[in-house]
């Protein structure tokens, strides 16, 4: 016969694992889009279960819950899937309003959303630098530098983060510039984000990576280098000559 203490322990463990099981994140460790969701959940202190997806062998769970794009991240909340990282972040923001990531004022929110959209529209250029060569890569490098220039001139003021003194959704949206861009630059052998050309961005990257949740939730730099370098070799050897 189990003691009362054992019974209560069993119940509390079951209940907490139930509420944790309510929120699942399908992600992939090298993916910056995965990290956007991790950062948002951790900044808000929301517990979740992380499920690592092997993107070379997509699970039935992923294919079932992301039928249109078949991509991570996918957030499963009580079994209901939400896809697309920034849409997931808006959902998290609405469901768990503590530690707000968006401004309260509608106009400031519109500005924040503008830069989130800008990030999603322009960031692909840096990944084209990563996976292409020749003329296509040259154009992508120009586009990436132009993106950085616009951020430097228009998006970043004199405050610590994009929205002010606290980290927010726009910082999370641009997060890959703080870490993944550096990996791409190393692998490809270019410097696109020169510290002296982009002093505000340079300062922001330092501030961003000093935030404990960010600092403690970044993939290992060396592991990323190895992973992305290998993948790039495969991509370039299998692609046709441009």
């Amino acid at each position: 016969m189990t003691s009362l203490v054992e019974l209560l322990t069993y119940l509390s463990v079951s209940l907490s694992s139930l509420s944790m099981a309510e929120l699942k994140l399908l992600g992939s460790w090298p993916s910056p889009f995965s990290y956007r969701v991790i950062w948002a959940l951790k900044l808000k202190g929301i517990p979740y279960e992380y499920i690592e997806e092997d993107l070379s062998n997509k699970s039935p769970l992923l294919l079932q819950h992301s039928p249109v794009y078949k991509k991570i991240p996918v957030l499963l909340h009580a079994g209901k899937p939400i896809c697309e990282s920034m849409i997931i972040l808006e959902y998290i923001e609405e469901f768990w309003p503590q530690i707000p990531l968006l401004p309260f004022d509608p106009f400031q929110r519109a500005i924040a959303r503008f830069w989130v959209k800008f990030a999603d529209d322009k960031i692909p250029a840096m990944w084209i630098v990563y996976r292409s060569s020749g003329k296509e890569q040259e154009k992508a490098m120009k586009d990436t530098v132009e993106m950085l220039r616009v951020i430097e001139e228009h998006a970043l003021g004199s405050k610590k983060f994009f929205g002010g003194e606290e980290i927010g959704m726009v910082d999370i949206a641009f997060g890959q510039i703080a870490e993944w861009l550096g990996v791409i630059e190393e692998i490809v052998g270019v410097k696109l984000l020169e510290d002296h050309t982009f002093p505000r961005l340079h300062a922001w990257i330092l501030n961003f990576k000093e935030v404990p949740v960010i600092r403690d939730n970044l993939p290992d730099h060396h592991e990323m280098f190895v992973f992305f370098k290998r993948r790039r070799e495969l991509l370039l050897s299998s692609s046709q000559d441009q």
Binding site: I82, C83, E90, P106, F107, A110, R113, F114
Partner: protein, 233 residues
């Protein structure tokens, strides 16, 4: 505190053919907000536009009490949040909002770009685009059935965010069908959407904003001729 702003408080910089501009205007109509429409001259960009949207230099821009907001779907969300006493545009449930946002983004990222190319393509390329678009419409039909729950619109009884995002495209969809000599919205494959399209265009907030097919066809021809005249750039 609805609708007591003077007309000068709210301006929309835009042009009649743009589906993105139409979104902003429908949203303001839903909230019964009067506004001044400042039409951009085709082929040139006004000082006001360049000042208000220096990053993209694109329409639409909403100017509210002198402050500019750019990007059509962001404008729609802003309108919904500011004129909160009017009928809601986004669904109230966070999960429904996520679904609406997903499909609105799909319209912008996948549907519209493919559809826009059909009129200027031929042969295999055109066939591939038509296939993409019709498959996309089948996905949107499914989304419509789930979202509408038997009612007339994606938003239910009244038009909402996804109705505005997708419905704004209907003028160009019909013009593309005419110019490309293809049937995209098909009664057999997407019966719900066919019905929805009619209801949407007849809605009070939408009436008069979706341009006539002939006018868009004429406009497209003019644009193509102007591009040719400029040569490749």
């Amino acid at each position: 505190m609805a609708n007591t702003s003077s007309t000068h408080d709210v301006k929309v910089l835009g042009a009649w053919p743009s589906p993105f501009v139409i979104r902003a205007r429908i949203a303001l109509n839903i909230k019964s907000v009067e506004y001044e429409f400042l039409a951009e001259t085709p082929g040139s960009k006004s000082q006001l536009l360049l000042q208000s949207n220096p990053v993209h230099k694109k329409i639409p821009v909403l100017i509210h009490r002198g402050k500019p907001i750019a990007e059509s779907l962001i404008i729609v969300q802003y309108i919904d949040e500011v004129w909160s006493s009017g009928p809601s545009i986004l669904p109230s449930d966070p999960y429904d909002r996520a679904i609406a946002r997903f499909w609105a983004a799909y319209v912008d990222d996948k549907f519209f770009p493919s559809m826009s190319l059909i009129k200027s393509e031929q042969g295999e390329k055109k066939a591939a685009l038509v296939k993409q678009v019709t498959e996309g419409l089948v996905l949107l039909e499914e989304a419509f059935q789930k979202s509408s729950k038997g009612k007339a619109f994606f938003g239910g009884d009244r038009i909402g965010y996804l109705d505005v995002a997708f419905g704004s495209m209907l003028g160009w969809l019909r013009a593309t069908e005419k110019m490309g000599e293809v049937k995209l919205l098909d009664e057999a494959k997407t019966p719900g959407l066919v019905q929805w399209a009619e209801s949407f265009c007849a809605d009070g907030a939408v009436k008069g904003l979706i341009p006539e097919t002939e006018k868009l066809v004429e406009f497209a021809k003019l644009l193509a001729a102007r591009m040719k005249g400029r040569g490749s750039s």
